[in-house]
C-alpha cells in the first residue's frame, strides 16, 4: 500500500475546518451555523485520525469517538435550542437574539 503524505491529510483537515469557519462567520441562519460547527468538529476529528495513523496508535481513534459523542450531544441541545428559538422569534435569524434580555 502506498503511503499518503501526512501533511496532505492535515491540509485536508485544515481546508474543511476553514470552510466550516467561513460558514459559522458568514451565515445568519441558526441551522446553517450548527451545520458548519459539525463540519469543523469533523475536520478536527480527521486531524486526530491522521495523527493516529502516523504513529500507528489507537489514541487518535479514541479521541475521534469522544469528538463524535460530543458532537451528538451538542447537536441535540443545539437543535432543541433552535426549535425553541423558532417558537419564540418566528425566525431562524441569529441576529434576532442579539440582546441578552430581549
Amino acid at each position: 500500500m502506498d503511503a499518503i503524505s501526512m501533511h496532505h491529510g492535515l491540509i485536508l483537515a485544515g481546508i474543511l475546518f476553514a470552510l466550516g469557519l467561513i460558514g459559522v462567520l458568514a451565515r445568519r441562519n441558526l441551522l446553517f451555523i450548527l451545520l458548519s460547527i459539525e463540519i469543523m468538529l469533523n475536520a478536527a476529528g480527521l486531524a486526530f485520525i491522521v495523527a493516529g495513523a502516523r504513529w500507528i496508535q489507537a489514541d487518535g481513534q479514541v479521541m475521534f469517538i469522544f469528538i463524535l459523542t460530543m458532537a451528538a450531544a451538542e447537536v441535540a441541545v443545539g437543535l432543541a435550542l433552535a426549535l425553541q428559538f423558532h417558537r419564540d422569534f418566528k425566525t431562524l435569524d441569529a441576529d434576532a437574539a442579539s440582546k441578552l434580555r430581549g
Binding site: A3, L12, I49, I56
Partner: protein, 178 residues
C-alpha cells in the same frame, strides 16, 4: 491508494463548499452527507476501519437525520430560501471568507515543511481501539456517558418548556409539531 485519497479529498472539499453555500437547507444537508461519506473513505484508507464505520453510521446517519427532522419541523420552504438569498450577499461573507482563507494559507505554509512521513501503511484495528478506550481512557468514557445524559436531559427540557408552561405537562405523548 494515493489516487483514491486525493479523489475523496477533492469530493470532500467540493461538497463541503456546496454545503456551506447552498440556500436550501435540505440541499446543504445532502451535500454535507456526501462530504461525510468521502471523509469516511479517507478514514478507511488511513487504516481506521472502525472509525470509518462510525462516521457513516453516526455522523452521516444519526446526526444528519436529526438535522433533517428539524428542517422538516421548521417547515423551511421557499420563503426561507428567499430569506437566505437576501441574507447571503457578498458583503456579508467576503470578509470572513478572506480571513479564514488567510488562516488556512498560514496553516498550509506551516505544514509544507520537510519530514513527510507517510500515513496509512498500517491499519489500527477495532480491537486495539477498544482496548485503549476501555483501558487508559475509561474515565473519558464515563465522562462521555455523563455528557450524553446531560445532553439528553437538556434537549428534553428545552423541547418541553413551552408546553409545561401551557399546563399540559402530564401529557408528554402529544409532543411534536411546532
Amino acid at each position: 491508494m494515493n489516487t483514491v485519497f486525493y479523489i475523496s479529498a477533492a469530493i470532500a472539499i467540493v461538497s463541503t463548499l456546496l454545503a456551506v453555500s447552498r440556500l436550501n437547507a435540505i440541499h446543504a444537508l445532502l451535500n454535507l452527507i456526501v462530504s461525510l461519506l468521502a471523509v469516511a473513505v479517507i478514514f478507511f484508507i488511513l487504516g481506521a476501519p472502525f472509525v470509518a464505520a462510525l462516521e457513516v453510521i453516526i455522523y452521516a446517519g444519526a446526526i444528519m437525520v436529526v438535522f433533517v427532522f428539524v428542517v422538516m419541523m421548521l417547515n423551511a420552504g421557499d420563503e426561507i430560501t428567499a430569506q437566505e438569498r437576501q441574507w447571503l450577499r457578498p458583503q456579508t461573507w467576503i470578509v470572513p471568507a478572506v480571513f479564514a482563507a488567510i488562516l488556512l494559507a498560514e496553516l498550509i505554509y506551516l505544514f509544507s515543511g520537510p519530514a513527510n512521513k507517510g500515513v496509512g501503511e498500517h491499519a489500527v484495528n477495532p480491537k486495539q481501539v477498544g482496548l485503549a478506550l476501555f483501558g487508559p481512557y475509561l474515565l473519558g468514557v464515563e465522562l462521555a456517558s455523563l455528557l450524553l445524559l446531560s445532553g439528553l436531559v437538556g434537549a428534553y427540557h428545552l423541547g418541553l418548556r413551552h408546553r409545561s408552561l401551557a399546563g399540559s405537562r402530564h401529557d408528554p405523548a402529544t409532543k411534536g409539531g411546532v
